[in-house]
């Protein structure tokens, strides 16, 4: 879908959070000089098109006790990758699962799944659960734990289209 400058302004104004008031879309409309109904209609349209995945609470999983995570990586047959990726992505402890190209010979893995838990042991247990689910479809796997955050700026939207 095409996003016009008004849509972009709405996303830009709300990406840090909606105003926590009874009529948040009316408030956003006030900021941008739009009607409440127009803000809702535009956000609805963007949600239907997948630009907005959902309007929801982003819990801080660290604060809620999920303080450990590991990037698990898996080598599965390409022809099975779609089905297995869907299954891994549907697990409640997996936040992201991506199919990516291998870099042979050094890197045989094509599915990447970020696994979260309350401890490293729990992450390991989740990893075993995935390995068990994949069974013989998994040819090799590994897990990469983060040692340090070197940079984190987040991906904020640009104000203007390029």
């Amino acid at each position: 879908m095409t996003i016009d400058t008004t849509d972009r302004a709405i996303l830009s104004a709300t990406q840090g959070g909606l105003p926590l008031v009874a009529q948040p879309f009316a408030e956003v409309g006030r900021w941008l000089g739009l009607d409440e109904a127009d803000v809702i209609a535009r956000m609805d349209r963007m949600q239907a098109a997948g630009v907005i995945r959902r309007v929801a609470l982003a819990p801080n999983h660290y604060a809620l006790g999920m303080v450990a995570n590991g990037m698990t990586v898996w080598d599965v047959e390409d022809s099975a990758a779609d089905v297995l990726g869907e299954r891994i992505g549907a697990l409640p402890f997996v936040s992201h699962c991506y199919l990516r190209p291998r870099a042979l010979p050094d890197w045989p893995f094509n599915l990447f799944a970020m696994v979260h838990g309350s401890s490293r042991d729990e992450v390991e247990a989740h990893r075993e659960e995935i390995a068990h689910m994949l069974g013989a479809d998994c040819r090799a796997c590994d897990v990469l734990y983060s040692a340090r955050i070197l940079k984190k700026t987040g991906m904020r939207l640009r104000k203007e289209a390029h």
Binding site: D44, V55, A56, A58, Y62, L64, L150
Partner: protein
């Protein structure tokens, strides 16, 4: 962002129910919190106050739209490097200096530096990665997303 667990009593049962429910998203209506309040037999203002408080104490980072950044245009690519230990700080500084590097993690692996490039154009990915290779003398392995699968992740509060 807070990176440690809250005390167990920081949230009551209603807060936890709201966290679990609100991760699934709300319907876009003029009074979105009223509809949620009705589901839990709460007052609209109570729901709003609880969300605000959870944000203030760091139980939630925000309440708002989850945006598919790729759908907005621009390109993203996960990249990895093997950086020799004794050269790590120099390389980190060179890599982080690029505004296209959105985040960067040290990981316990032969490939010990993992970062995401976010650029305005698809060509910008290789341009930036090539520049980092030229500056550091190290290979930047590129793992663009071919497909994404995620539906299930929910934090149970």
């Amino acid at each position: 962002m807070r990176r440690t667990a809250l005390a167990p009593d920081a949230l009551d049962a209603t807060d936890r129910k709201l966290i679990n429910r609100l991760q699934d998203g709300i319907t876009l209506t003029a009074h979105p919190f009223a509809a949620v309040a009705q589901e839990f037999d709460l007052a609209e203002a109570d729901v709003i106050d609880r969300i605000a408080r959870m944000r203030d104490i760091g139980a939630a980072t925000r309440f708002g739209p989850f945006i598919d950044a790729a759908a907005m245009g621009g390109a993203f690519c996960l990249c990895a490097m093997h950086v020799p230990e004794d050269d790590f700080e120099r390389v980190m500084t060179l890599v982080n200096d690029h505004p296209e590097v959105a985040h960067n993690y040290e990981r316990v692996h032969h490939l010990n530096m993992w970062f995401v490039l976010a650029t305005d154009t698809p060509e910008g990915i290789d341009e930036t990665a090539d520049r980092i290779e030229a500056e550091t003398g190290l290979t930047v392995m590129r793992f663009p997303k071919l497909k994404e699968f995620f539906i299930g992740f929910r934090v149970t509060a």
